[in-house]
Assembly symmetry: C2
Homo-oligomer: 204 residues x 2
């Protein structure tokens, strides 16, 4: 489950960081702790599944503000907020913006561990989905411009003859390109190709 993964902790309170490091070490999960969001960004992220335990209130950038900026920074880690001084709207908004948990200190250790396990699972799943989308996009990119043209019209259901007219090429050229599309996209049948392009459109 937690083969190789990291939990990032950002909290200005060193005693909290130490406590979390101990807690997660006790269950064999690697921890990288920082006292500011800047320190976290400077260190960078490892390319392994993980999640982020984030303090709400900190000197410098708050955890709330950092959370809002994460998408723009290309950081998609699941976020678990911890706080000693939160209020209801803050917690509600955090969850509405995608945080997976919002815990108030003092919190139950097991509750946090459960949230972390959940976050790591979500990140693993996100990475799987992302990898599939990337692989699919790579296949598509291996098609020449003309082959992509043909592929688009094929999955629209046009006949080879119609595609040829649309693209101002001969029907035999369409057949050649079409065969190349099927080979390069590793599609055994036309329905396969349709499904591949549907996934491609969704993950665009």
């Amino acid at each position: 489950m937690t083969d190789d993964c990291v939990v990032y902790v950002i909290d200005d309170d060193s005693s909290v960081r130490a406590a979390l490091e101990d807690l997660l070490a006790s269950v064999g999960i690697r921890v990288l702790a920082f006292d500011t969001t800047t320190a976290f960004l400077t260190h960078g992220m490892e390319d392994v599944p993980g999640c982020l335990v984030l303090d709400v209130r900190m000197p410098g950038q708050s955890g709330i503000d950092f959370h809002r900026s994460m998408a723009g920074l290309g950081i998609n880690l699941p976020v678990i907020f911890i706080t000693g001084h939160g209020d209801i709207p803050m917690g509600v908004d955090a969850i509405k913006h995608g945080a997976i948990e919002f815990l108030t200190k003092p919190f139950n250790d097991q509750t946090l561990l459960d949230a972390i396990q959940n976050g790591i699972s979500m990140d693993q799943e996100r990475r799987r989905t992302k990898a599939e989308g990337l692989a699919l996009h790579t296949l598509w990119s291996s098609l020449s411009a003309g082959e992509q043209d043909v592929a688009r019209l094929v999955v629209r259901g046009l006949l080879n003859k119609q595609i040829a007219a649309e693209l101002n090429v001969s029907e035999i050229t369409v057949k050649i390109r079409r065969a190349q599309v099927m080979r390069k996209m590793d599609a055994q049948t036309l329905p396969d190709l349709v499904r591949l392009t549907e996934k491609l459109a969704l993950s665009s």
Copy 2:
């Protein structure tokens, strides 16, 4: 936007109900207010877009408990919680379970109105999606058992010959059934049929 829709209010405090009725009447939205969840269930729901403003703490069944039971009752209304005595975990859990807002009294009128408009829009969208899925399911149901068999294998990419062998019928029968499938499903091309069955699988 709010052509014909209803906001259901469940709150044991008659002054709150009156205030909400006034507020929503001022913007021309119809209100149905109840003092208990039982009263709401007894009255039943209208078949128009709407959302539910739900008090957290009430005599009898609490709003929180009712929210958890809604899916089992087949009620998919967007829920907006209002409360005077909530805490952070309660608000966080409510949102995690799908509530679209969790407001603490006293709340800003406009905040509630925005949430309600958002809830109504979501319900409209849900109804659109549901109607599409239902229409698609109706088309599929219009296929005979044999036609459904053929359709399933067609979208898997099997040849008519292979389908015939699989179903122990003649190839000509497959052709007839296949033509019926295309006609009944209103699919002009094979890619169309593939996409229809994909949607069907997702909304099953």
